[in-house]
């Protein structure tokens, strides 16, 4: 019964989404008050239906109802309870349902948030979100229904992909999708502004907290995925420029550009059409991410989810949503004019450069990800792009971007009086250089060319970020959450740069042949392979190695890497043993049984690699703090920010009363 109920709820959700889109978009267009009034009930109804649907699917997993095809394909009676729940999004159909559910959550939050905004505008935002939701529901029902029955029911299921049976990967998709879907909100605000034909500083203020929250979730999702790849796949790295990783990274880059461009639109009323374009771009890339992962056009780690037959549908979907938005943009954006100007070394121009560099970096990733596809489509020789392309091409725009962070923080809006801060900038830069050299040579006693550069830029960002907050704190002035969030996020960026620089410069990895009882030396560490014992998990058999890691003869930790054989899917998984000492991440993974009692053992020493993931969470925290600024909670500004565009405000205020 439950699957049928879920299926039915999904159909009702689609109809309600259609109503939400219809009333939300056309109501304001024709000035129909009652149409607009119907939007919020449609949102609520749709959400109830979507929750019912995902609840039914979850219940089918918990009860292990193998008469449901999707359950039979992704669960097994030996699967632990936690993973039965995570199995809901373990494959394509359920992932889509998760996406729809999260879009529902965002929409409900937005429907509360827009209560303070002009009614027409709010209806339009919800209308656009309804349209996106409708398209996803239609796609799910037409091509990827998770509630299909299996006739006759399977006696037992095929189990969840063992790669996904991991705590980090159980929560990675929900976080990542929360970010992806969050950009739908920025997209909807952009859509509403274009339908309105007006956009001003207040618009940017409304949009900012939503965008920043989505960006923060996406960042955490990416970091969790990277962490998972590090210890679960054991390839020895935190980033592989894999098409699916890139697919999640591109919207993040676009979102980062959007956050900064929104700041300019908010404070100065500039970059309006550019901000709109970035909002469309960020969401388009989120959709493209889904497309790349789900359509089977790329071969990747995640290709277990691929199905080429769905590709055409997704493409049609992209054409309507993105094509529609860009058509609207081509028609409406020319109407948006910015009156204000700015000087060359003002904050506006630094943020402009920030956007240019971020878009270049985005283009680099996009080009590398799409090149094999484009070459294939044009029947050119097959092209493969890997780290040798990505690392240098990505670093090229990133190094100047990092230098700009420090300059941008010290600059002021509108006026280019950077010379006032010349001394501070030079002093902080000098201190950063000294610190960087001290760290490179003092701690690690060696360096690659870019090592001190990376450290210098990171320290410079930290120092310049701290100057203003410390100054305000000493003068007992309040620090707004917006400024605090920005500072935290920039420090997070610096932590990321330090982490990446250290890992890329000082990693020490090798494979050694070891038999139980033998010892090996690597870097500062002695590794003692104590023994190898059989182990058994709920749905797998394993061999577990015991390794004692010591430094200067003192035992530090015991690591237990495993090699697991999952019963149902017959696949072998490596579980690395991981520990940390003095910031260095020590990873031991069991390789092959070399015979004669020997095993190939991979030992990796990666200094500060943990910082890479911690940094992502610091940045997300910064985003969270900034998004909670009181400034965003008031509908209209009390005082107009400097000389900006005021006409639009008046027009929107009129919209509210009319």
């Amino acid at each position: 019964m439950l699957p049928e109920l879920g299926h039915f709820a999904l159909i009702l959700a689609m109809l309600l989404a259609a109503l939400q889109a219809f009333f939300g978009i056309l109501g304001p267009q024709f000035g129909r008050e009652r149409w607009m009034a119907a939007v919020t009930p449609a949102v609520a109804g749709q959400f109830v239906m979507v929750v019912t649907a995902i609840g039914c699917l979850m219940a089918s997993f918990i009860n292990l109802d193998f008469s449901v095809k999707y359950v039979a394909q992704n669960a097994n009676s030996a699967l632990p309870m936690v993973y039965r729940i995570a199995a809901v999004w373990g494959a394509h159909e359920g992932s889509l349902l998760l996406w729809i559910f999260l879009l529902g959550c965002w929409t409900v939050a937005v429907s509360v948030g827009v209560l303070r905004l002009p009614k027409r505008f709010g209806a339009r935002v919800l209308g656009v979100l309804g349209f996106v939701s409708f398209a996803f529901l239609l796609f799910t029902l037409a091509t990827s229904n998770p509630f299909l029955r299996l006739e006759p029911a399977a006696p037992d299921g095929q189990d969840l992909n063992p790669l996904l049976q991991d705590p980090a990967l159980a929560i990675h998709p929900p976080l990542l999708y929360t970010g992806y879907v969050g950009f739908a909100v920025a997209f909807a605000f952009a859509g509403a502004a274009m339908l309105e034909g007006k956009m001003d500083q207040t618009w940017a203020r409304w949009t900012r907290p939503w965008t920043t929250s989505a960006w923060a979730f996406l960042g955490m999702g990416i970091a969790l995925g990277s962490w998972w790849a590090y210890y679960e796949l054991g390839w020895g790295g935190y980033w592989f420029w894999d098409p699916v990783e890139n697919a999640s990274f591109m919207p993040w880059l676009a979102g980062t550009a959007l956050i900064h461009s929104l700041a300019v639109t908010d404070k100065r009323g500039l970059f309006k059409s550019w901000t709109l374009l970035l909002a469309i771009l960020a969401f388009s890339l989120s959709l493209l991410g889904t497309f790349l992962v789900r359509s089977g056009v790329t071969v990747s780690v995640h290709s277990f989810a691929a199905d080429p037959t769905r590709g055409v549908f997704i493409l049609a979907f992209l054409l309507i949503i993105i094509g529609g938005a860009l058509t609207l943009y081509a028609w409406r954006a020319p109407l948006l004019k910015s009156q204000a100007g700015f000087e060359f070394t003002s904050r506006e121009s630094f943020l402009l450069f920030n956007n240019i560099l971020l878009v270049i970096a985005l283009a680099v990733v996009f080009g590398g990800t799409m090149a094999p596809l484009i070459a294939d489509a044009l029947k050119m020789p097959t092209l493969s792009v890997g780290t040798p392309y990505f690392n240098p091409s990505f670093a090229t725009p990133m190094v100047p971007l990092l230098a700009l962070v420090a300059l941008g923080i010290m600059s002021s809006w509108k006026r280019g009086r950077l010379s006032e801060h010349q001394r501070t900038l030079l002093v902080t830069l000098g201190v950063a250089i000294v610190l960087a050299l001290a760290v490179s040579f003092g701690i690690w006693g060696g360096s690659r060319v870019l090592t001190p550069v990376g450290f210098t830029l990171a320290f410079w960002i930290v120092l310049t970020s701290l100057i203003d907050p410390i100054d305000r704190w000493r003068r007992k002035l309040t620090i707004s959450r917006g400024v605090l969030g920005m500072t935290v996020a920039h420090i997070g960026l610096a932590v990321l740069v330090i982490g990446i620089t250290a890992v890329e410069s000082f990693t020490n990895e090798r494979d050694i042949a070891l038999a139980p009882g033998q010892k090996a030396e690597q870097g500062d560490y002695q590794i003692h392979f104590v023994n190898l014992t059989p182990a058994e998990g709920p749905n797998y058999n394993a061999v577990r190695g015991q390794f004692v890691v010591s430094r200067d003869g003192k035992p530090l930790m015991t690591l237990n890497p495993e090699k697991r054989q999952y019963w149902v899917q017959r696949s072998v998984q490596t579980e690395a043993g991981i520990g940390t000492d003095r910031g260095t991440n020590i990873l031991i993974a069991l390789g092959e049984d070399l015979g004669a009692g020997k095993w190939s053992v991979r030992v990796q020493l990666r200094p500060l690699v943990n910082w890479v993931w911690i940094a992502a969470f610091i940045m997300a925290l910064g985003g969270g703090i900034a998004a909670s600024d009181r400034r965003y909670r008031t509908a209209r500004s009390e005082a107009a920010d400097e000389a900006g565009v005021v006409a639009g405000n008046a027009a929107l205020a009129k919209g509210k009363s009319g």
Binding site: S295, V297, P308, L326, A330, P334, M370, R510, S571, L594
Partner: protein, 182 residues
Amino acid sequence: MMKTRFIVPLIVFVALAGVLFIAVKRAPDKHFIASVLIGKPAPEFKLPSLTNPGSNVTSTALQGKPYVLNVWGTWCPMCRVEHQALMQIQQLEQVPLIGLNWRDDDALALDWLAQLGNPYEQVAIDKQGRLAIDLGVYGAPETFLIDAKGIIVHKHVGPLDMEIWKRDFEPKINAAPAAGPT
């Protein structure tokens, strides 16, 4: 002039959508490309050997017994995933594995084999990707089963695992003529 600027994103998007459309249309082909080549002779090749510098790996020398040609590169993350399975397959000693190191750096490739183990009997270097094009390789890893007469019997796109090996390759190896003396 002012207005055309705002149409550019739309034009770029439509062009890109066109490319994606072709890619999607061709995506299913990838899995059936095999049908074009299966039953046909494998292209002849003579390529430098990675592991024995100075010597060559040639299709003529390989003829006479079935072999598996595995296309890989150190730049390909899925090849690393596949590597474990290749090591296991090699231990079964059912058929020799011939590596085709595709568009790669020799030093990196040798390093890879030293670190992860070498499952291959021979490794040919295809720096320009000529043979890969003749074989219709879409992306690494790809694996071909070639019988004693040099005919392509099976092709697999994407990483191999033991399950795929047992299901798709073993029956065909056992069925292949002239499997060698046992």
